[in-house]
Symmetry: C2
Amino acid sequence: MTDTRRRRMPRPVREQQIIDAAIRVFAKRGYHAASVDEIAELAGISKPMVYLYLDSKEGLFLACLRREAERLVAALRAAAGPAHPPELRLRAGLLAFFTFVTERRDSWVVLHRQASELSPAIAAELGRTRQAVMTEVSGLVRTGGPEGAAPACPDDEADFVTYTLVGAADSLTDWMTLHPDEPPERITLRLMNMVWVGMRNVLDGEVWTTPAGEP
Amino acid sequence: MTDTRRRRMPRPVREQQIIDAAIRVFAKRGYHAASVDEIAELAGISKPMVYLYLDSKEGLFLACLRREAERLVAALRAAAGPAHPPELRLRAGLLAFFTFVTERRDSWVVLHRQASELSPAIAAELGRTRQAVMTEVSGLVRTGGPEGAAPACPDDEADFVTYTLVGAADSLTDWMTLHPDEPPERITLRLMNMVWVGMRNVLDGEVWTTPAGEP
């Protein structure tokens, strides 16, 4: 299938180079303003070759989305190893996420800020990405109960906790742009402080109620 | 300024009718697929009259955004009356938000799901909306410490808590579409369970740390 006559490097390697360049340009310019010319130049590859490999600007963007989504999900999965007690798994998952956002800022801009209405194909891919992340976090939460107890909580509660955590972490990436020097470890610790006690209490059956004597 | 010769109702009333119709059509069709024809028909007003009042499809969308953003901010502000103790203010703020999303589903679709890259003017308006909501929540959080103690926590901590809460609540509106029968009161109670204890502990200086003996 692959025509290698005039190439010095294998197709997968060159594709990764193109994707690296595309992520930088998309993050910097936004989807609409990004030009395939600039991406080709940054990748050191001719524009026709870029089209040959990745078909179109949309194809390029989808390739970026897919690769970075896979990396993010892999990072979450690696962090959530079953060997740890639940609160350390949660901490490891959050830390993996905030580290990804800190170290791969351009990727996060592409994954997070580029609008979901760009095209139906891109919206669908973003939807799949979000779902994959939700699945990882949900796995973390479902074994997030007292040590040894699995599954820790009903699916319904676990889903609620998952949406809360994903939304909070997502929003905190905006906070991070305002606090670029805050290390991922500290962000993780702060969020653990916000949510872990509440999660533990919910899983232990303790609930917040209106204080006595109040409406 | 206003030409009233051929109209039966005052301009502000008619504008509100157009905006009501536009919100329904934008929520149903999305920005790109929505037609000014359909909006005019639903509002019972001629298309040229719609253009006369609100200039363009973008103008219509901006008018929708502005009106609904004002309503959301007003609901948050009303809920956060200074008379209550902090946890009740937080509960009231969350309840106001989830009630808005439940009762004004179309408005929320327009505010939340319509992409921020539609046009620079729309993106700017969405940014202002998010900022206004952040300001309200931040006000809630800053007096969220032990009763009587105000300001309750350093700005830095309050900002972090604000981004966490706004992101969590935002994400939970997706959870709500999967659980349409869940009343706002119960969603509020669940989120209070997740975050209030953690917030209180943070404000009281209690912090989560890695359990003894763990890495």
